[in-house]
Amino acid sequence: MRTVKTDLIAKIIKKLCLKANIELRKDVLSALKQARKRESASLPRYILGVIIDNAGLAKKRQMPICQDTGMVVVYLKIGQEVRIKGNIRKAVESGAAQAYKQGFFRKSIVGDPIKRKNTGTNLPAVIHADIVPGNKLDVRVVVKGFGCENASRTKMFRPFDSTDLIEDFIVGAIRDAGSKACPPLYIGIGIGGTLDKAVGLSKEAVLRPVGRCSRLPYIARLERSILKKVNGLKIGAMGMGGKTTSLGVSILTYPTHIAGLPVAVNISCHATRDARKVI
């Protein structure tokens, strides 16, 4: 058994919250740079240039890339040979609270969805914990703004509905999102499982580096087809047209029930943010 103290977890969470908000993911930044290179129309080219400059400024000035510093979502993969000493939720939340205070990040969480009073700390966080083999602890922090979160959606298809219907649903979600969700987007899709599993997969899908395709050939084909159709919408950077409405499409699948085919689309903005540490 390996013992990990919750003090260390709090320290890691704090570091990851700061990093995720201030440093744009390398793969996302490089996809944005490629999109700018490809772009010939002046307005989207200008917008992509500003987005890229903004990422540089954020890092240099140690300021958050976007004012929507999100709701904190933490993924903990706990090796079964790891024993955690102390209260995990408290550790996660103390780390996150310190980061949001020290980083001068926005506090965007209301304590009750109906009464809507700001908690003033950006807490609570959403925590997903999983037990895995081994003696490692894998900590991942995702911060997601709600401009794009609000555009995400899910649908329960019939078992033998065609992939064309699924593609139409996904492309429709992107069309409806328009420029509200801050394109160019990274599109995460979950297919299979239960309603909650499909949504979970769609969230995890955008943790995969932009540009890497599925290992399943028929899924990789589906990813390419959706990307082509979405870019055919010509929404472009912040709705200003041009070649790139989406930087990439990432699909994760899971076994499902004989009676169902759940599909979830997680729309993620051009500031797709997360940070990870394995100890």
Partner: protein, 165 residues
């Protein structure tokens, strides 16, 4: 690129073209979801607004706190369509310009056109870049709403694109 001084007048708005890039300088008021709800509730109940919106421009943003001696934190636009239900009422009470991101509803679009007002979009997710164009930042109403409070910003060469007029 066209330089525009705020507050705007209807003559300047008439000269703008949809899709045109502009640089805004002068006073902006910030307001997003919670401040809109309060403003419109006050108007519905016949109460006086804490600030005048006549001839003003509202920027839909909820900035991050200012660090040390900085003027403001990151301050990019938020999604405008959430403000759609409130917009016609504010336009009726003299609001003349809005800055945000994304499409507007049919009703909000019609109302903007009817009043000879203008809706600009700016660059979502470019919070640090845009913060460098803000020279002054002061809370003028609803300070309890913190990031959602109404602020008066003085901006210089704040980039925007004419979206609806």
């Amino acid at each position: 690129m066209k330089k525009i001084h705020l507050p705007l007048n209807k003559k300047t708005i008439k000269s703008l073209k949809v899709g045109e890039r502009v640089l805004l300088s002068g006073r902006l008021l910030t307001a997003r979801d919670a401040a809109h709800k309060r403003l419109v509730d006050a108007l519905k109940n016949g109460k006086r607004l804490p600030i005048s919106i006549k001839g003003e421009a509202i920027y839909y943003t909820g900035p991050t706190p200012a660090k040390g001696k900085e003027v403001i934190g990151s301050c990019g636009p938020t999604t405008s369509s959430r403000m759609d239900p409130f917009t016609p009422v504010l336009l009726r009470h003299g609001l003349i310009a809005m800055i945000g991101k994304g499409e507007r509803s049919k009703e909000a679009t019609a109302s903007i056109k009817k009043h000879g007002a203008v809706y600009f979009v700016t660059i979502g997710g470019a919070g640090v870049y845009l913060s460098e164009r803000v020279k002054k930042n002061k809370i003028v109403a609803y300070s309890d709403l913190e990031t959602e409070a109404i602020r008066e910003l003085i901006v210089e060469d704040f980039p925007a694109i004419v979206a609806i007029k």
